[in-house]
């Protein structure tokens, strides 16, 4: 591409810088297309810089650079869950005993990916009680209790022959400070050691663990 200087008088030879001392009126005295390398437009090229070899330094984060520390990464590391079978079980216990469906305990294993992670626990239990009976739960981590409720956390305050079927839910957070395999188990304790029916009417219990990353 070339610059074309429109002459007002006949010239021969090379125009010197001195002859351009008065400047060129680019708005009217220049035609043609200015080379892109000289600031011209109309490039049809799609690549101009080899970013793999010709760029040094750190690209700003807002332009796609890495190394940002201000945004929050994903927080849920993993999720494990179970639903018990719907087999009903009657439990009468004044101390915490493993909740089962008769044979299989409501428990889960999880291996945290980092010691700084927390384990979020969700427990959902269906139970049938008659009047003046109730129950509470605990959650243990590899045999160590870290969450417990009173034995009347769910309580049927109705008459002795009034039956209540109800589902109750508990949430708990644990800080195990471990990257080893951990077993979380749900226990129940019935108030006064009276019998409570769990998982009645084909309603299984459920247990969910989520690893929350720091």
């Amino acid at each position: 591409m070339t610059l074309t200087v429109v002459k007002t008088t006949a010239l021969t030879g090379t125009i010197t810088n001195a002859q351009l001392a008065g400047g060129i009126d680019l708005t009217s005295k220049v035609t043609g297309t200015l080379p892109i390398a000289n600031g011209g437009t109309n490039s049809t090229a799609t690549t101009f810089v080899n970013a793999t070899t010709n760029v040094t330094g750190a690209l700003p984060i807002v332009n796609g650079g890495t190394g940002a520390t201000s945004f929050a990464p994903g927080k849920i590391g993993q999720v494990v869950s179970l639903a018990s079978s719907p087999n009903s079980v009657s439990i009468s216990s004044g101390s915490y005993t493993a909740l089962t469906d008769g044979s299989i305990p409501v428990s889960l294993s999880i291996t945290p990916s980092a010691a700084s992670s927390k384990i979020f626990c969700q427990v959902s239990i269906q139970a049938r009680t008659v009047g003046s009976r109730g129950y509470g739960i605990n959650i243990t981590r590899s045999g160590t209790q870290f969450f417990a409720t009173p034995e009347q956390d769910f309580y049927n305050g109705l008459g002795a022959t009034d039956t209540v079927d109800a589902r109750s839910n508990w949430l708990a957070i644990d800080s195990p400070n471990s990257t080893s395999a951990l077993t979380y188990a749900v226990g129940v304790k019935t108030n006064g050691g009276n019998a409570v029916g769990f998982q009645q009417n084909s309603a299984p219990s459920s247990f969910v663990l989520m690893e929350i990353l720091a």
Binding site: V89, I91, G193, A195, G197
Partner: protein, 56 residues
Amino acid sequence: MSRITFAEAIKSLNSKAEFKVAEGDINFLEWLNNTTPITKENILAEQARLQTIEDA
């Protein structure tokens, strides 16, 4: 008329008994907190006796 549960039969025989029992299968029976075990035969017999009363 309701079904008499294993738990009701056990409590009828020993009101202080502490246990865990699958209501669909008495073979899944666990005695808790030093409760003196009751035989399955006695539990089933007590359940039948209470059921007869319930159904009358």
